[in-house]
Amino acid sequence: MIADVEIVKPGLFTTIQDEGRFGFSKYGIPKSGAMDQVSFGFANLILGNTKNAACIEWTIQPPVLKFHEETTIVLTGGKTDAFLNDQKIEMYREIQVCKNDILKINFCKKGVYGYVGIKNGFLSEEVLYSRSFYKSITLQFRLDKNDKIPYQSSRDYTDHFSAISPPLFLENSNELEVYKGPEFDMLNDAQKSKVLESVFTISNTINRMAIQLEEKIPNILPSIITSPVLPGTIQLTPSGSLIVLMRDCQTTGGYPRVLQLTETSINHIAQKRMKEKCSFRLIEF
């Protein structure tokens, strides 16, 4: 039967996400999808869901949820303490949920984005083969208090007595692997070494579209003719700032694309908070 989960408190910025939209960039539609695809993927893996099943994605301050029917859930991503009816529960393992149970997740201790996965996925509106929220594509762009998201209730919980260790993004590595971007070789040697040898600080301009870095690169390049970009593309703006494009980024841009993050590094930088550091290590294909 179809039941729903009620948003008792929405948290800071909570959305529904899956793997995102593929094949619609010709209409200027962003990819979207979970900011940290690895943590998102673990949620579905642990639950035995299909890869693209939709999860709730929260940002730093998680929501409070009330489940109206039985199901099984899992918590992954940003490190936090979580409670089901005030009973502490573990992350990265299946949790049985009964009718009217309330899930509270404390303020995130490490990382930025966390995921609440549910058996068979959340069944919010699907637009262009994805349930990922995006303004002007889905009716909602964030979850608000009292919203209800449908799911298929499930009674097939079996305790496997197993948990998975949290994946490695939470380890303290600040080094991100990058490829040369199409305009990398337009930089002069001083700019190249500045980009590859500096330690950068995550600024307070962080959202699902982009992460801006604090340190500036002097002597910037002119804008380029509008060209395609992807999540993980690092652009150099006229003011000398580096902007790391993230999952909700536009499909094209006009700033020089100096670096491209590897898929792993996109998930890694997504979990970095304001004031955290990062540096870039160039790798060959």
Binding site: F24, K26, G28, S136, P228, T251, E263
Partner: protein, 241 residues
């Protein structure tokens, strides 16, 4: 005509193909033709191709196993193509109301360019614009062909709210905002049509390579068309080229 293309690896899942830099209709047609052959060569779910003025970005669902093999394959696909056969394109007649009551920046724009509003309307409705690609916002068309006399630097401070349907000029470009958005362009008219509808799989009725002409309409016609769009009885007008 064939161009010397550059193939660059963009990420573990993407290859960038670049034409010589510039905004050029011959490049556009060559690029769209290549795009079409790539998409028909692959099964649909394996790649998506993002196009812009002078580049295509091929994005694969999974990691590219052998970049050199893949590039060889793409090169042979390009050499086999016959760029002369242009794909079918359409000319769309797009109604725009240039009333100062709707177009928030029209008077200031006319003043800054030392033109009358009538002259602006004439200059803006005369060219046949080319739709190069969609980017920036869902359904936002990059149009080529704006008259030099209408070029105008973007606003120093972008407006926080530009309405859906706003017809605007920024630098050497003109465009229509398909959804409400912040924006730095000067709004000189309002178009009642929907340029983006995510409820259909074919989200935009205009495709890359199509032509557009703006047709000046009065405010009452603007209201009539808006009403028929709400009632789903309006069909955008086009002729085949």
């Amino acid at each position: 005509m064939k161009y010397k293309l550059q193939y660059k690896r963009y990420s573990e899942r993407a290859i960038l193909i670049e034409w010589p830099s510039g905004i050029d209709e011959n490049i556009l047609h060559d690029l769209l033709f290549f795009k079409k052959s790539i998409l028909s060569f692959y099964d649909k779910p394996i790649v998506e191709v993002i196009s812009a003025y002078n580049s295509l970005l091929i994005y694969y669902v999974s990691t590219i196993e052998d970049f050199y093999d893949e590039v060889l394959m793409l090169k042979s696909l390009y050499s086999k193509g016959f760029g002369e056969t242009r794909s079918e394109s359409k000319l769309w007649k797009i109604p725009v109301c240039y009333a100062t009551s709707l177009a928030q920046d029209l008077e200031a724009f006319a003043e800054s360019k030392s033109l009358t509003i009538e002259e602006i309307i004439r200059l803006h409705t005369t060219p046949l614009y080319t739709a190069y690609f969609i980017g920036f916002l869902p359904g936002f068309l990059y149009l080529g062909g704006l008259d030099d006399q209408l070029h105008n630097a973007r606003k120093m401070t972008p407006s926080l709210h530009v309405k859906k349907g706003a017809v605007a000029i920024g630098g050497s470009q003109t465009g229509i905002y398909p959804i409400n958005s912040p924006g730095g362009w000067h709004v000189i008219g309002m178009c009642p049509l929907d340029f983006f509808n995510p409820k259909t799989e074919d989200c935009c009725f205009i495709s890359s390579g199509d032509k557009i002409q703006f047709i000046s309409i009065e405010e009452n016609e603007y209201n009539d068309i808006s009403t028929s769009i709400l009632n789903n009885t309006y069909m955008p007008k086009s002729v085949s080229l």
